[in-house]
Every structure is written in C-alpha cells, then in structure tokens.
Amino acid sequence: MSLPWKLQETFSPEEIQFIVENEPIKIFPRFTTKQPVRGNQQSNSSVQTRWKLLTAKDEPLNNLVAIQTTEVALWIALLLKQQGKCSIVAPGWLRLAQLQKYIDYELKNTGRFSELPWNWLVVAQLLFSKAADDLHDPVHLLRGKVQDLREIRLSKIGQGLKHLNESHLQLDNLSLLEINELRPFVLGVMNKLKDIHNSISEDQEED
C-alpha cells in the first residue's frame, strides 16, 4: 500500500516527537526583535525581516526582548537554541526534587501512574540532548531519574497487561510514547480476545 505497513496503525517515535514539538515552551531570548516605538528616523534605513508563520503564532516572535521569558513552540525554541539565540527554560517537573517526588509516588502507589505530563519522556529526551546546559541540575543525574521513572512505569505496564480483556483498558497518566510502544501488542491481543469472545453467538448465550 501507499503507507508502509509499519505506519499503518501506529506512529513512529519520530512522529511522536513531531507532535510533541508543537507544544509551547518558555525561552529566554538572547536577541531583540521588538521594534522601538519611537525613532522614526531609523525606519527608512532598516527594513527588518519579520516572522510570518502559518502554523504557530508569530506575534511573540516579533516581540522578543532579550532576557525576557516568552512562550514559543518547542520546534522554534530548538531551532533558536541550536544557533545560540536563546536558552530554554526547563519545565517545572524536570528537576531532581520534582522527579524524586514522582518516583516516590510511583513506588508508593503500585496501582496507578503518577501525573507526569503526557509528553514527559519526549521532552526530557529532547532537552537532554539539545539543551543540556540550560537545565537546573546536572544532566547525568536527571537522566538517571528519568530512567528510573521509565523502568518503574514499564514494570507496572507489565503488571497491567496481565489483566487484558476483550472490552476495555484504563491507562490514566500513561504518556504518548509509552502508549505508542504498547499499541501493536495491546491492540493485537485485545482484538484476538474479542474474536474469541464473539465466536459465541449472542442469542444462544441466553439459553
């Protein structure tokens, strides 16, 4: 078919990254694009290039002031970061103390997942690799905590999959990448369970 079989009923991790890159994130710009109100004498000399975007708001980008936090889409932030034109403000949950709280919660409540944002794994991975110098805590420690969280949650997923059935499954607070990794397995098994279940016809079941 025109779509390769691997992509027919799921996303690739790169597509998940693409989805997450559309989310807003705070940055410290290192340059100013805001035009001074006064000073008509400059207007003839400098015709400044403006951001004209169709899929993201260009208004904040045209009003950047150095060292004043602004919210922009993650993909723009990463592009600017790459050129050294901004530093990214790490989200509140990406700190050692906060991650440790999540880990404690995960360990205490074996029946549920902690309320990490839906894109935590992807955002953490992107910031570790592309904005490691902007994080509040040393990257290797943060990496360790994120890995801990991931493994605790993976083992919980393994526990949860013992209760697969033909009708439903509740996955509160499971992130997009984790769901995406599970999807082929869970869908395959649940569909087969449904097939097996449906092989008994309804009307004869009442006898």
Binding site: K6, N180, L193, H197
Partner: protein
C-alpha cells in the same frame, strides 16, 4: 479475517475428519476412488472450507420432503486432533510451555472457527486463558531478553519456536515497536 487474508485461507485448508450421512453418487473422489460413489458413514478428511459448508447444508433441500423433523446435513464434523481433550488439558496445565506450532500452525484461527461452529463456551474460556498467558511471555520476549529465563538456564529461543502464526505477527509487531522506541531514545 478478511476474504483476502492469506493466513485465513491457509487456516481454512486444514483437513478436518468428517462422516457422511448420505450415499452420494459421483463424490468418491473425496475418498480417493475417482468415479465411485461415496457411502453413508464413510469417514473422510475434508478441508475446513468444504466441511464447514457441508455440515450446515442439509440433504433435504427438496421442498417436498419438509415433513421430516430435522434435515440431516450432508456430513457430520468430528472433533479434530488439534482440539482433542488431551490438547485442551495440556493447555489448561501450562499454556506457556505448550508447543502450539506442532499442534497446528494456525491454532487460534481454527479454534475460533470451531468455537463459532459449535458455540463451544468451554473452548472459548480455554482459549482466553491460553492467549492471555502466552501473550505475557510474548511481550517479555518482544521487549527484551528474558533475564529470568536466562538465569534458569532455559534457552529463550525455544519459546519462539512454539509460536503459532497469529502469535508471530503479534511478536513481530510489538518487537518492532519496542525496538524503534529504544532506537529513538538512544540515538540522540
């Protein structure tokens, strides 16, 4: 299970033992005697796609003989070897160690078809249990090397050789998914 599904076609080609309820002229080739008649009570192995239809359609399609209480179908299906009680008992005792592939490489598909034909509730329960238990094992193998088994000296490869066709698809898809996620996490 769609019309063009290759695995479904292959599953339908499995031979099922059947007994004829009528003398039928000219059908001897099903038994191997070309040109002869088939006798009542003759035991013949027919592919499921043929047996399924013949077990439903009756000999009394002629409207004049409606008087009879029940229209006897052309053939009667006999429980095949792959669903014999000893197989069912083996499943109940330990699905993960069962060599499904040696029983039949399209075990699930056939079992579901059988359960549909006979409305077999007990079989459905056994299948449900079997699928759940084996899927745990499949997931372990798909996501990583099973350290527990390695520690016990069991070769993880042996389980993979027992998978039926449906389980292989599940394994391949989930392994691919885990692998791609891991690659993405590492590459940066």
């Amino acid at each position: 299970m769609s019309y063009y599904d290759i695995d479904d076609i292959l599953a339908d080609a499995t031979k099922i033992p059947c007994r004829f309820n009528y003398n039928i002229p000219g059908l001897g080739y099903l038994e191997g005697n070309i040109g002869h008649d088939i006798k009542k009570n003759a035991k013949v192995e027919l592919p499921l796609w043929l047996g399924r239809v013949l077990a439903i359609v009756g000999g009394d399609a002629d409207p004049s003989s409606v008087g009879e209480d029940e229209a006897l179908s052309f053939i009667e299906l006999i429980t095949p070897e792959l669903l014999a009680p000893r197989v069912i008992n083996a499943i109940k005792s330990g699905p993960a160690t069962l060599d499904v592939r040696s029983i039949n490489s399209h075990f699930y598909a056939l079992a579901v078809k059988w359960a549909t034909l006979f409305n077999d509730r007990e079989l459905v329960e056994v299948l449900n249990y079997m699928l759940l238990e084996r899927s745990q094992e499949i997931r372990n193998h798909a996501s990583s090397i099973d350290l527990e088994n390695l520690a016990q000296g069991r070769d993880p490869g042996t389980f993979m050789l027992t998978l039926d066709e449906f389980e292989k698809v599940i394994y391949r898809n989930s392994h691919e998914s885990c692998k791609e996620t891991k690659q993405w996490m590492v590459q940066k």
